[in-house]
């Protein structure tokens, strides 16, 4: 009934739609798997179960809490309400100092213990990550 051209065009449009739907689905699915959520120590304190998902924790590095040995650096992140111990083996950024803001990325082992795989670099002494500002401001 329909000409060959119409059929061809119909087929073409359908295949484009399928491709679009597939790629959107793929992007969203991958987004869900690879997104890293940001939490403050107080939010973590309310956790009841610990997912094996990568998260970010932000707050202040507690005074006199940085310790180092040849493999690891450990320190405490605080939002002045709750604290969490962080163990990290990796490179620290230049502005990683006690009393300054910090964001650590890694895995939560339990309520008080965080195994970091990355500490985020800050480039400015006055700069505080917006997440940290928010986390500190909430309290």
């Amino acid at each position: 009934m329909y000409g060959k051209k119409v059929k061809l065009r119909f087929f073409f449009i359908i295949s484009i739609i399928i491709v679009l739907v597939l790629s959107v689905f793929l992007i969203l699915k991958s987004l869900e798997e690879n997104v890293v959520y940001f939490q403050s120590p107080s939010e973590i304190n309310k956790f009841s179960e610990f997912e094996k998902k990568k998260i970010r924790i932000g707050g202040m590095v507690k005074e006199d809490s940085i310790k180092a040995n040849s493999n690891e650096i450990s320190f405490v992140i605080t939002d002045f309400k709750n604290e969490i111990n962080v163990v990290y083996s990796g490179v620290v950024p230049n502005l990683f100092e006690e009393g300054k803001g910090v964001v650590a990325e890694g895995f939560l082992k339990d309520k008080n213990f965080f195994l970091a795989s990355k500490i985020l670099a800050k480039h400015d002494e006055n700069y505080m990550p917006p997440e940290v500002k928010a986390a500190l401001g909430e309290n």
């Binding site: 491709v19 790629s23 793929l26 992007i27 991958s30 987004l31 798997e33 690879n34 997104v35 890293v36 959520y37 940001f38 970010r56 006199d64 940085i66 310790k67 180092a68 040995n69 040849s70 493999n71 690891e72 650096i73 083996s89 990796g90 490179v91 620290v92 950024p93 230049n94 502005l95 990683f96 100092e97 006690e98 670099a121 480039h123 400015d124 002494e125 700069y127 990550p129 917006p130 997440e131 928010a134």
Partner: protein
Amino acid sequence: MASLIGYYSLIVGGFLSFFIIIFSVKNFKSSETLDNRIIFFSFLQLLLVFISFLGLIISFINSDFSNETVFNHSHTTKPLLYKIAGTWGNHEGSLLLWLLVLTLFIFLFILKSKKQPTKYVILTLLFQQIIIVGFFIFILKTSSPFNYIFPVPKEGLGLNPILQDPALAIHPPILYLGYVGSSIIFSSTLSAVTLNYITKKWASHIKQWVLISWIFLTLGILLGSIWAYYELGWGGFWFWDPVENVSLMPWLALTTLIHCILVLEKRSFLTSWVVILSISTFTLSMSGTFLVRSGILNSVHTFANDPERGLYILLFLFSLIFLSLFIFFFFHKQNENFKISLSFLSKETFILINNWFMMYFLSVVLIGTIYPIFLEVILSEKISVGPPFYHKLIVPFLIPFLFFMTIGPKLKWMKSDLSKKINLIVFFIISLLVASLIVKNLKIEFLLNTILITFSFYLFFVTLSDFVSKKYKNLPQNIAHFGFSLFIISILFNNIFTTEIITNLKVGEKFESENYKIKFENLYQKDKKNFKSIIGKFKIENSQGDVEIMEPELRIYNQPNISTSEADIRTNLLSDKFITMNIVQNQEYFNIRYQTKPFMMWIWLSVLLITISGFVSFFKKKYEN
């Protein structure tokens, strides 16, 4: 004084737009030839903006702290180069640079388009003037670089030390030539759509402008990437950071645009693609500016968190998008007397397929960049999207992408069969063998890596053989595709073969592993003009017994008081050695990272090669005319 002259010439320059627009509208109605007054006033505007910019540079050189911008971003002890570079190392100055490039490009465009229809040139000028006026208002209202402070401070606040670097000194102007260059493409496309002038002739004329913009954008990204590699101390060259992504997106659009224009030039179709891509390239450049300037994305690029500025750019951006979409829907006509017959085996089909892949890559980067922003605004949930997201979604699709890139140039326009099939098959088998031999002995996922390396080598061998055998029928394409294959191969090997040691050492201590011995020999200090530097001396011995002395550095700047770490990098053709050192506060330990990074240099060289292909294409065209 220089500030004052700069300020007034900026204001006068802004008023000139008024005259240019009036003359242009008059000229457009009674158009025979281009009114000389338009050329004159455009030149005058360029001159005034240039004087204004020069005024700012002189204020920076003289450390004139009565100027607020200079006070905020300069310091008397800063070396001359960084005083000058400080001019565009801040929000206000960099916007003035935007404006300068905008006026420069439209003036050159008027001069270079004498053979084009007068109406088209005038309308392009009018569209460009809309953008120029927008920027004049933006600068004068929200971001004047010439604000006066009294009492005059004795000393400035200084420039962020990690920006005090030769590569970063020229990174912004080069990147801007690319970003702002796309404004001309935007204006001229809108003008061509309105006048129904999207033709083969127009394509070969606008191609030059696309190439210029693309060359500078590529170089600008390369410079930023090289800087990130040696200055940020992570040893990587691309972090999928939102501020990097916003420069990649216009690049992807622009690269696709070049391919579409080639098709338009030869076959006069894909007109809608050309129009949409021209609009997207410029709006992506603008949104890039919006995102990094508004303080939504936090990075070195964020100079000021002034919501008024962000709001202004956003409104301006939306009105430009609205205008261009309006023009596209109401004026754009498909060429109806021309029936397109697409045969699958043809150059244009393959280009079209890869265009779709490019659009897919672009959407991945776009979603990864703006999704966190949306989520934060709507649900106030804070997330970040990391490299795995991009790798997972982009890397597998590189395989068909590379394949079409290899075969496409082998096909003819309209319709063709594959000639020299045997060659292509032989090359594929060679690539497959080489790839599986390489991957076999490694502890990495076999299938994906083998296929990926096979197809990169395939492109590599086929383009390489073209260099040898062809009589340079299409040299720019050949160089570009060859460069891209080299780029992908270098990145793959760089990723696979990188080794890394991270340890904390005290002075005098030694780290030993199977492959390396690292000894922290000593620590010494040097005083420079505006920073103190602490240098560590490391003796590194590999398993073959080769010894290398490397000296990473920590710099403590006086103003602002910030420390940066300077990696020590030893480069040779095959591999880079990379070491950084950091203080662990209140501890005697230093945090050490030592990496070997193969083929690092080839990543830079391949991008340079891709840029060169743009130059070749640009000058080849000129020569042919």
